[in-house]
Amino acid sequence: MRHDTTRRRSGPAALLTVIATAAFALILAFAGAAPANAASSPSPSPSSSAAQSIQVWIRKASDRSDVPGVKVTVSQGSFSQTVTSGDDGKALVPVPAAGTYKVDLDASSVPEGAGTVPTGLNPRQVVVSAGNQGVPAYYILVAPGGGATPTPGASGGASSGAGGGGSGADSGASLFDLIAPRIVTGLIFGLLLALASIGVSLIYGTTGLNNFAHGELVTFGALMGYVFSAVLGLPGVVAIIAATVLGGVFGYVQDLGLWRPLRRRGVALVPLMIVSIGLSLALRYLFQFIFGADQLVLPADNRAAFILGPVRLRSTDIISAVICIVLLLLVAFVLLRTRIGKATRAVSDNRSLAAASGIDVERVIRTVWVGAGSLAGLAGVLIGYYQSLRWDTGASILLLIFAAVTLGGFGTAFGALVGSLVIGVITDVSTVFIPNNLKYVAALVVLIAILLVRPQGILGKASRIG
């Protein structure tokens, strides 16, 4: 019996330690590698001692081709610098200090026929935090006459002028150019989703709860990352580890303070689901109450560190992807090989049978909450690096998480992984074909379509549905 109590304590804590250590080791390994990558990249990065920079990038709306030779002025107070976009349509402007800069595109310098900047987007204010590299100031030039103007001839001329980027003339290649980078970013996004989805799947598997407050675990991690890196000014490594550990603690506290008492009361699944909805609302707006409603930015180097054909990745993308892959392998190892992992799968499979065969179900559930919380926290901070973060970052991807979990088959952790990758790629690739703001719609439509043809999901067992 005494054995039991010690094991009971060690389960969640041990898991948390393992996850955190893995994340830590990885980041250390990458801390050295990333700058080397950046230096070896062919991207025109003027060596400068400035710790901050703004990345200007000018493209045409019609075929996304880069526009060279455009003058842009970046100014703040006494600081003012004018740059001209290079062959890749880009110009990097080092800035001396954090703050808000005015970025002004000189309309008269735009080549004939390349189009104009939509009104309201020029000049614009760009917020640069301390240490931010390559803060985006991207311009999309719209052809004046609408659909009639971008004739193939005109765009061919422009891209041949661009020299290096001159693949725009061939429509087949340009479709590849459009899709390839989105497949890569989609996969990275899918990996991030997977970190969050596996938690949803495990919680559903072990407790039957569809946790609508899981998005808030993700947001919590993102915000903790923000607090440690942007507010306290600690290195990104510390922020990521803090988000992971505190996420696990948050999961543990949630289970201890709310879900376990409700399980003890024998509250049914539907009311539990509604409680999670209430919790989600309350937490989400508590985050807004504390952190405000604006976008928050994690200090990071946003310059491309790796370029392969049309694919450009930032060092944060690469580090995130590797962290995700290693942690997902770790999760797989834990689930397949360790005692607690086997117990978790047994409980997911059949709770009463597991309990009857001597598995401490409560301990398994507690461990799952800790694991789910820390994975979600890690997903949150990495998503913060991937795009930006806000009080409702997690809530906005909750349905994508559900879509991933449903797609893969409820309650199967590996299904959640596959589902996440599919959803990530669909979300990003869909922007080639439909307006950008409808990208989540594509994923949700796929969710509904999957339920039509294969309700048990890709990897779910048919017998799970009656």
Binding site: V267, P271, M273, V275, L286, F289, L444, I448
Partner: protein, 323 residues
């Protein structure tokens, strides 16, 4: 110190917003409270219905009744599209599909490419013309104190409340009939009802259509005095409705009405007190921080009701939806 917000809170009892939420909540109660269908996308039904009304009125020049008919058609189509694949599946699938569908509706109507049709993020204005044209009330200002209503406000409030009460009586009649018996049986155990020779799928579909239609009609009442804003029909709206029916009692017909009134009075009072508290620095918070507080209140209230008083304010204890 300005306490006029107390009266304004009282005004919530009859405001068109309260009427609309009462009607949409009644629809959700038919689906969720009586039939046991987890429709987490009632806001989507509300949006579809509202857009059908506004678009047919503004772009096609439909007369009022025809635009109402368009609303009913639109919500019915949505119920069929969502129900056919999911009503045979496990209950939580319907929840996820409906919530996803509601978000799809909101994203699509907001997309810039559809601005000529839907107005994008700004929504649609002026759909009230056909309804106001029917107004027999002479122009003027009615009411007392800070509660002033012009003839059009009064017209929608009158018609709205009469309509809601009629619908509530209708739903009560339905629930007391053999049809309601089958519906309640499905909530308890659909296999048992199936084994007694009832077409459970068809009844669930009827319930989904009826509840969704009430959601669509609710939006008409909501947008007539204001305008159609897509972001008013996000997931939080569904969760407000869920709070309302659980507050009033999910398995009663008049619970959603009482719930809607209490809900908006409490929110309005909370907003008022909070404004005062901020103004006189009783609380260390800013005006901007005031905004999220009402949502925190709703979230916490929703949890507390489900945990501690699942039968709602007027529901009988043993009729609690969650046994």
């Amino acid at each position: 110190m300005d306490f006029s917000f107390l009266l304004l809170a009282l005004g919530q009892i009859i405001s068109p917003q309260t009427i609309a939420y009462a009607l949409a909540a009644l629809g959700l109660a038919v689906q969720f409270g009586f039939t046991g269908l987890l429709n987490f996308g009632q806001a989507g039904f509300m949006a579809i219905g509202g857009y059908a009304f506004a678009i047919t009125t503004l772009h096609l020049g439909f007369p009022f009744w025809l635009a109402v008919l368009a609303t009913l058609v639109a919500t019915t189509v949505m119920a069929l599209v969502l129900g056919i694949p999911t009503l045979r599946l496990r209950a939580d699938y319907l929840a996820i599909v409906t919530i996803a569908a509601a978000e799809i509706v909101r994203y699509v109507v907001k997309t810039p490419d559809l601005i000529p049709l839907t107005g994008g993020s700004d929504g649609l204005n002026g759909a009230a013309v056909t309804f106001d044209a029917l107004n027999p009330i002479p122009p003027g200002s009615y009411g007392f104190g800070p509660l002033r209503y012009d003839e059009n406000d009064l017209w929608i409030i009158l018609v709205g409340w009469i309509f809601v009460i009629l619908v509530a009586l209708l739903v009560r009649q339905l629930m007391k009939s053999p049809w309601g018996r089958v519906i309640k049986g499905i909530r308890e155990d659909e296999d048992a009802v199936r084994s007694l020779g009832k077409n459970v799928f068809s009844y669930k579909m009827q319930s989904l259509i009826l509840g969704g239609a009430l959601g669509g009609l609710a939006t008409i009442i909501n947008i007539i005095p204001t305008s159609l804003q897509p972001d008013n029909y996000g997931t939080q709206t569904t969760f407000f409705l869920l709070t309302i029916i659980l507050l009033g009692g999910a398995t009663t017909v008049f619970g959603p009405l009482v719930g809607a009134i209490v809900f908006w009075i409490v929110l309005s009072l909370a907003d008022g007190f909070l404004s005062l508290a901020v103004q006189y620095h009783w609380l260390p918070i800013t005006t901007i921080q005031q905004g999220p507080v009402r949502f925190i209140i709703v979230g916490v209230a929703l949890m507390l009701i489900v945990i501690f008083r699942p039968s709602g304010l007027i529901g009988k204890k043993r009729e609690a939806f969650f046994a």
